[in-house]
């Protein structure tokens, strides 16, 4: 019974922590431009994250190696170091975007000055991370993120065309004009990237080690990766539906965070808007914490420094200094006034570019019998992993040209 409760809690935490600013923005915009035509990108991204998240968890359990330790051993020091720098730059940009998003939502909820809220929220988050143990950080932000379910309820209440939604599972290759085809490809890559953001697997595999998972927890690893991500993707599909039903008929391209939260409560009244805002706030806050901690995990795992959120801060000084540093630098970036949604665009596309360097070592180790023993990938696992790695590489190559050609997805 205790095990079952643990699995249920893990799934709910994964569900609540699945959505972040990038997904809220990209999927709502995609729905506003293409209706349900990009549902397939969400499904593809979800399958890919399930496959790789499960592998990361399994490697963490069997080899006791988190992702960035693998990167150093599999890519070599120089390429590994380049990936570390790029990943942490990406974490920093994403963290700044999420903190900016937190300040915007708090401003819309309270009316207090945005910059003051930005500083206050960052300070509160840093204190919370300092005081809480890993599992409580994960649970607090993951479970409060469940408030995002109001977006799914709103989507259903607006009576989407389910047949059209199912048709969206197949890509539409022919668009009426070249610009629209490029935009379609840009948003497909953006959604795919947003679903597979590197910090999520870095955080997940580090968490497995933080929580001392053993081979007995491999079933839970699979359940959390599969069910948590699948249910989380339903929330992402709800965002797409809201974009399609609320914004597409009105020719609105939602380029503000407040616009997306408005859609989350559209069929209801004021109280639902507050719940939708709180749900988005929880998800974005959770993502900012995950990116800051991922930055610290990456550095420590790559250089083999002591790390761990559950250890006293004094015994892991570099780890503690790095995550605090991530928060401080992200706060400085956010305080410059750069718009969070611009940062999100950059982080998602830039994240796609470096993605193959994160996922390749994971696949290589998961398929290595010498390391994984009886828990090595089955042929099918490896085949699926390779297929997704090819897709990730193609998307990585296309990401920057598409960003330039579409002026960062401007219709």
């Amino acid at each position: 019974m205790k095990k079952l409760l643990g699995i249920a809690l893990g799934i709910m935490t994964a569900l609540g922590g699945f959505v972040d600013l990038g997904q809220i923005v990209f999927t709502t915009q995609a729905g506003a431009l293409f209706g349900y035509q990009l549902t397939w990108a969400i499904v593809l991204g979800t399958t890919a994250i399930i496959v790789y998240m499960e592998m990361c968890g399994r490697i963490a359990v069997v080899a006791k190696e988190p992702v960035f330790a693998l990167l150093r051993t599999q890519l070599g020091f120089r390429l590994g170091l380049a990936t570390l720098i790029a990943s942490n730059l990406l974490n920093l940009i994403t963290c700044a975007a999420e903190l900016g998003g937190v300040a915007i939502i708090l401003h819309l909820l309270t009316g207090w000055p945005e910059k003051l809220l930005l500083i206050g929220a960052t300070l509160c988050l840093a204190i919370a991370v300092f005081l809480l143990r890993f599992e409580w950080i994960e649970r607090t932000f993951g479970l409060t993120g469940l408030l995002m379910i109001v977006f799914a309820v709103s989507a259903v209440m607006l009576h989407p065309d389910w047949n059209q939604l199912v048709r969206g599972l197949v890509p539409t290759f022919v668009q009426p004009e070249t610009k629209r085809s490029l935009l379609y490809a840009y948003f497909a890559v953006g959604i795919f990237s947003a679903m597979l953001m590197e910090y999520e697997v870095h955080f997940y595999s580090s968490g497995a080690i933080e929580e001392d998972w053993t081979s007995e927890d491999l079933g839970e690893n699979f359940m959390v990766a599969a069910l948590g991500s699948t249910l989380g993707s339903l929330l992402t599909i709800a965002l797409l539906i809201l974009g399609a039903l609320v914004f597409l008929p009105r020719h609105i391209f939602p380029d503000l965070l407040g616009t997306a939260t408005l859609a989350g409560a559209f069929p209801f009244a004021q109280k639902a808007l507050v719940v939708a805002s709180l749900g988005a706030l929880a998800c974005i806050t959770g993502a900012s914490v995950e990116t800051a901690l991922s930055g610290a995990y990456n550095v420590c795992q790559f250089f083999n420094f002591e790390w761990g959120k559950n250890r006293p801060a004094k015994s892991v000084p570099i780890y503690t200094f790095t995550w605090i540093g991530m928060f401080v630098l992200a706060l400085i970036v956010a305080l410059t006034g750069v718009r969070p949604l611009v940062l999100v665009d950059v982080s998602i596309i830039f994240g796609m570019v470096i993605m193959p360097f994160t996922y390749y070592p994971v696949l290589k180790v998961a398929a290595d019998k010498n390391v994984m023993g009886k828990h090595v990938n089955s042929k099918f696992d490896t085949m699926i992993g390779v297929a997704f790695l090819v897709l990730i590489t193609v998307a990585a190559i296309a990401a920057i040209p598409l960003m330039i050609l579409t002026n960062s997805g401007k219709p």
Binding site: G76, R78, L79, L81, A82, T83, A86, I104, H107, L108, L109, T110, G111, K179, R250, H251, I252, F253, P254, D255, L256, G258, T259, L262, A269, Q270, L273, V274, S277, V346, F350, V353, F357, I400, I404, N407, K410, P411
Partner: protein, 139 residues
């Protein structure tokens, strides 16, 4: 392979920097500006409707109107600071519409707690939206 990766990062940064310094408004950008303006007008109309029906909180209404005004002013500034390429017509008209839209949203912001005072801005925003829609369909 590491050098290739560094070169890719460097090229990416260069491209991003070079893209941010465009001064001439191409025909495609002018079309994109028109679509963005129409989106702002439609969103303003939707937001005013929501405020009139008390479906959003006062803080949300005030804050979101402020963000929307900021976005419109940013677009208007971008248009002001660029010169239209041959064939990229209608930017002057767009400037006027964006100025009018900003003015109406400022009035709406002053009346978020007074639904009756929103009727005027709502009607004018509707006019602006229709005008932008006509401009878009004539493209």
């Amino acid at each position: 392979m590491a050098k290739g990766f560094q070169a890719l990062l460097f090229t990416t940064l260069l491209l991003l920097i070079s893209c941010s310094h465009e001064k001439t408004r191409t025909q495609d950008e002018a079309r994109s500006d028109l679509i963005a303006s129409l989106s702002f007008a439609s969103e303003a109309e939707l937001l005013i409707d929501e405020i009139q029906q008390s479906r959003v909180t006062e803080h949300y209404a005030d804050g979101h109107l402020d963000y929307l005004i900021g976005e419109i002013e940013r677009l208007a500034k971008q248009i002001d600071e660029s010169s239209p390429e041959a064939g990229a017509q209608g930017l002057e008209h767009l400037r006027t519409e964006l100025q009018d839209l900003t003015k109406e949203l400022i009035t709406a912001r002053l009346n978020v707690d007074n639904p009756a005072g929103l009727a005027g801005p709502r009607a004018k925003v509707d006019e602006i939206r229709r005008s932008l829609q006509r401009a878009q369909s004539s493209l």
